[in-house]
Amino acid sequence: MSPKVRRLLLTVGTPLVAVLFAMGIVSVILAATGVNPLDAFQSMIEYAGQPRTQVLILNQSTTYYLSAVAVAIGFRMNLFNIGVDGQYRLAALLAAAFAGNVALPAPLHIGLTILVAMSVGAMWAGIAGLLKVTRGVSEVISTIMLNFIATGIAAYLLAPGRLAESAEGSNNIATPTIPESGRVPGLPLIPDTVELVYGLIILAAVVGVAYWYVLGRTRFGFDLRATGMSESAAVASGVNVKKMVMISMLLSGAVAGLVGMPQLLGASYQYSLDFPAGLGFTGIAIALLGRNSPIGIAFGALLFGFLDSSAQILDLEGVPKEIVLIMQGVIVLCVVIAYELVRRYTVRQVARDVGRRLGEAGPPPPAPAPPAAGPSTEVPA
């Protein structure tokens, strides 16, 4: 096998095998609790075949994709932005409050709302970046803390008389509803259903392309990846690591700010107590699954979107739909373990290849030594 083919096989095969392995484990759990796993999988797949479910899957995946890209930007630089969760919630709340309280022409209204969300996300992530750069505080810890602080701030702000108004006839509290000019119309991407796909799926695609371009095709992206792979090498080649940490944290936070937008501007039009939470952690899982590559993340997001959306059918069949959460957790663990094993295998393989090539190049210059000379070169025992 040529190294190229081998690499391709490993790239595609590893996650596939890991996912199958995870499904095996989940099957055991299902069987142990008295459910036929094949039936469960079959009804999930059948349910996913319906156009309505497909819209749900795409919508869910859009959100997941943005979240995972936000996490991946940090990952490429060896930064662990666990704070995507807090960043997008705070950003969505403030953007919702902004959009619900102004009246502007449509493109401007939407554009400014998105800008507010990105700035808030970037600012919240920037705190962690600043603490790391100036005080050497690990971003893992600071972003975890910032998540909880964001929860507190959001709970404080989302109260009648502050950013929210209480809806009549329900005990849900929400920001003012965003007027028509601030909404993003849905797209009829899936035939045979009246349900629409979030218009901001386009934004997710743009973010994906931008992510690929900036990291893969620009000097900045090269510096960023170099810093992630070897900080000392990057420093030696003149990269200002502190600046890079700050910039990538800000970028990661800005993308995190977008996570809530498809839902906010395409479906709920307000930030309320039941706005989805925890998307940041799903994003971490998907970024790991997709190995930080824009394409890989897309597949990961679709897989998670599929699992989430098609799980709804399981409840009707008497299987707790939480089995899907188990499946997601097991998939992530299996996939990261598989990647690690493959990485070690590849390192060994490369070492062996190099060794063989050196061997082929053979005993240097006086190459085909005449047999007669043989014995004389041997060191006497």
Binding site: L131, R135, V137, F148, I284, I326, V336, I337
Partner: protein, 420 residues
């Protein structure tokens, strides 16, 4: 490496070195100073709940799960494995407590919770130690997995049980508590005097000696045992050496993998115990979302305590106190602002005396700010109390990151014989 000096400390410090001898009086001085301060603020503001026995007891109770998660983090990180999965292991513990607790009694619940937590730890050890997966990645995955697993198991195990359902277990019998006979009455008597300082001391004594759950006693024992095992035994020295310099430990014949496994499994078991406390003692029931991020607060308490059992207990106590006070009385929490102002003022003066103008100025400005906050408001939004542990941790990290010292090889992947 500077690491070595720390590893050697236990051996060198065995017959109480001067530093160690001086520590106790200083600790007592700080504690009595704090008591004086609290007492003063109580008398000035009239917020009686500040040092009442009820508040102290509530603080102790709330500190237990935080402390157990933190202690779990301590074990794991001392062996060089970062454990973000504490929250997940705690969740597993709450379910285990609910599952075994309602069927076979509270002690079975405790045991089962510890086992569930330990299994979570085992999984983390398998992924990080055997397979060398990034420790934070594995922790995040375990949190996701544990959440799903408990939800699923709860739905299958508790659906249709008496008083139970998809998200909660049937009630668990109480586990019982202990009251120290003499001290408890003495404390109550002192508290009733309503005198400056005497009453506060009484509240403290009564709160710490009345109706202490057996699980709390177990938890306190765990903290002390951890300190003794990790800092006073050869086993502990080896375990900590794995977190400081695994390859050096390896060269001395320590089986690093084994110690890491033990540490991470113990870490999970302790988190599970924290979960058991929440389910059995605090709520008498397993309920979904019961942990409420306490695994992460435990992590914060551990960092606050500089990766040491004493500091960790202090951190857990502080966070538990803020929580407990909030539950007892919102007005008393407001009095804490005055307390913070006075404490910062004293710190400012102390720094000025030490000729540190910058620190002194910052402290005094902050003190003035807190004073202004106290004087211009009449209550504190509950969200502020909720955020207190996290903000405290960030501030401690930002201000004292030079004085905090985590294990040198914390978070690094160790492969036997592959030192780079």
């Amino acid at each position: 490496m500077s690491v070595d000096s720390d590893v050697r400390i236990p051996a060198a410090a065995s017959p109480a070195t001067p530093a160690r001898r001086r520590a106790w009086p200083r600790l007592l001085l700080i504690l009595s100073g704090l008591l004086l301060l609290f007492s003063f603020v109580r008398v000035v503001t009239g917020a009686e709940e500040l040092t009442s026995a009820g508040t102290v007891a509530a603080a102790l109770g709330l500190a237990v799960p935080i402390g157990m998660a933190g202690l779990g983090g301590l074990w794991s990180e001392r062996s060089g494995v970062v454990n973000i999965g504490l929250e997940g292991m705690m969740i597993l513990g709450t379910w285990g407590a609910g599952f075994a607790g309602w069927q076979w009694g509270p002690w079975a619940g405790v045991a089962f919770a510890v086992i569930m937590g330990a299994l979570g730890g085992l999984l983390h050890a398998l992924a990080t130690v055997t397979f060398g997966v990034d420790q934070i990645v594995s922790g995040v995955a375990i949190n996701i997995l544990a959440l799903g697993l408990t939800k699923y198991l709860a739905a299958t195990a508790f659906e249709g049980t008496p008083g139970g359902g998809q998200t909660q277990s049937p009630p668990i019998d109480p586990i019982g508590s202990v009251t120290l006979p003499g001290l408890s009455q003495l404390g109550e008597a002192l508290e009733d005097t309503e005198l400056f300082l005497i009453s506060d001391l009484g509240g403290l004594i009564a709160g710490l000696t009345t109706d202490i759950s057996y699980v709390t006693v177990l938890a306190i024992t765990c903290v002390i045992a951890t300190w003794w095992i990790l800092w006073r035994t050869a086993f502990g020295l080896r375990l900590r050496s794995c977190g400081e310099a695994p390859y050096a430990a390896e060269s001395l014949g320590v089986n690093v993998y084994k110690y890491k496994y033990i540490a991470v499994v113990v870490s999970g078991a302790l988190s599970g115990l924290g979960g058991a406390y929440l389910a059995i003692v605090a709520a008498s029931i397993y309920r979904e979302g019961q942990t409420g991020g306490r695994g992460y607060i435990g992590l914060a308490a551990m960092i606050f305590g500089n990766w040491r059992p004493g500091g960790l207990a202090a951190g857990a106590g502080l966070f538990g106190y803020a929580d407990g006070l909030q539950l007892r009385s919102g007005e008393a929490v407001h009095a804490l602002l005055l307390l913070a102002a006075i404490a910062l003022g004293i710190a400012g003066l102390y720094l000025a005396w030490k000729r540190k103008p910058v620190g002194s100025a910052v402290s005094l400005v902050l003190a003035a700010g807190f004073w202004w906050w106290y004087a211009s408001t009449t209550d504190l939004p509950p969200q502020v109390t909720f955020m207190t542990p996290y903000i405290t941790t960030l501030v401690v990290l930002a201000l004292a990151s030079q004085r905090l010292r985590m294990p040198a090889a914390d978070g690094q992947v160790y492969r036997k014989g592959e030192e780079t």
